[in-house]
Amino acid sequence: MRNVFLFLLFSIFARPLFAQNEAALIKAVKAKLDKVSDYQANGRMSVDVSFINAPASKVVVYYKKPNRFKVNKEGGISILPKGGVSVNINSLLTGDDYAVVPAGSAIIKGIPTKVIKLLPLAETSEVVLTTLYIDEKALLIRKATVTTKESGSYEMELDFGKYATWGLPDKMVFLFNAKDYKMPKGLTFEYEKGNTKKEETLKNKKGRVEVNYNSYIINKGISDKVFAGK
């Protein structure tokens, strides 16, 4: 009985201590990411959504603190899923207005990670819950899942290479729930042609955006004009 009581006591009082460790880990990861004030990265982006047919293309990605982010395809059109953090790891840990909750550990692609949940304290926050899978040794976010109020849930998987010291990935896979897309045929000037081809069911399919970064230019300054307009 005494042992059970001691165990319960330990569980109740030790939990904040663990949370403190996790908070320190988050702080360390954030400090690493904070070294990057801005970057310009060249990469190749491919979009895989059931109702979007687009070729993989070269893109230039711009980021500037605190959360300005833009993907630009020279002379071209880029389609990105909407979302609080979009396809951007640096925006995940913007501000300190969240509670840190430890949630055990997990193995991501053979690498042991700490699972930490972030609960925003502000009631108006678009993000409801963020789960981070942090590689404690390298201080890198290997995976993140974000649940939002309006834009559903999305998931980020990150692979690191030569820019790991900055906390910037070489490859990022962004998974999200793609809503159904439908436009009136009158608007698109389409006619029923009586084709025998069966239409694919497009509903409730996961969308996927993959960005492979070739190079980064870090902390060299980026003009605000880059983020202005479309």
Partner: protein
């Protein structure tokens, strides 16, 4: 044969009605371009509404390729009327003026005469399409520039790389030429039966309207008919803006259109050879 075709072309371009088509196309294309130039963003916001609920679309969407696509979608439905104006008049117009019998007193076979008339209407049709292509494609490129093209379908969004678009337009205009030659050959066939140009022109339009309605209606009974309606195949110029191009479908439609042209022209010649010309 070339000399005869030249004479027929001279007669076509001597008539003021020939230029109505060019003026109408110039007016429509310029009006669409002006409307998009002035208020294109509102139009774009409206058609991208559904997509922008989930996605953020960046880049210059309103470029020359996109505008040309809108122009073609709007215009290719109405061009048959402008083509029928000339093709429906090519034989019936002469019968109406009383010059057909006189023409046949010349030492030329009826087949040669009919072929030269058809070639002349074909040249007119291709000239009209080329004019439209120059205005719609090159005009739009000049005003709006080039870039990736977005093709918004009812259930799919297709993005084509800027370097991958121009050849598609050339192919689409080639296919549109086949479609319009089908209309031209139909009007040419109907022209043989009449002594007044109005009949073949209205007849051609009536057939196209009825066939288009059958094409548009999604009723199982009509669906069985659709593969046999040439209006159904005429719409397949859009196939060049798929990724990848549905080559089999486009080729099938192109063959169907060529067969229609051959059928209409050979029927016209056959009937004209047997016909008792009284005017």
């Amino acid at each position: 044969m070339w000399q005869l075709t030249g004479i027929e072309l001279f007669k076509i371009f001597k008539k003021p009605r020939t230029y109505i088509a060019f003026a109408a196309i110039a007016a429509i294309v310029c009006l669409i371009q002006l409307a998009i130039y002035v208020d294109g963003k509102t139009y774009l916001g409206f058609i991208l509404q559904s997509l922008q609920e989930t996605f953020q679309v960046n880049g210059i969407i309103l470029n020359g390729y996109f505008v040309c696509f809108i122009v073609l979608q709007t215009l290719l439905v109405h061009v048959p009327l402008l083509i029928a104006l000339v093709s429906g008049d090519i034989v019936a117009g002469e019968a109406n003026m009383g010059t057909l019998r006189l023409l046949l007193t010349k030492p030329i076979s009826r087949t040669k005469l009919m072929l030269s008339k058809f070639f002349a209407t074909a040249v007119y049709t291709i000239m009209l399409l080329t004019f439209m292509a120059i205005l719609a494609l090159f005009g739009s490129i000049l005003i709006f520039g080039t870039g990736d093209m977005i093709n918004l379908k009812s259930d799919m969004v297709i993005i084509l790389d800027a370097s991958d678009v121009f050849w598609r337009y050339l192919a689409a205009f080639g296919f549109a030429a086949l479609s319009m030659l089908t209309v031209s050959s139909l009007a040419f066939l109907l022209s043989v039966f009449a002594d007044n140009a109005i009949g073949p022109i209205i007849g051609t339009m009536a057939i196209i309207i009825v066939f288009t309605i059958l094409t548009t209606m999604n009723i199982p009974f009509f669906n069985a008919l659709k593969p046999f309606l040439f209006t159904n195949h005429m719409l397949n110029w859009k196939g060049f803006f798929e990724r990848p191009v549905d080559g089999t479908e486009v080729l099938k439609s192109a063959i169907a259109l060529v067969l229609h042209i051959l059928l209409f022209v050979s029927s016209a010649i056959f009937i004209f050879r047997k016909k008792d010309i009284l005017t």
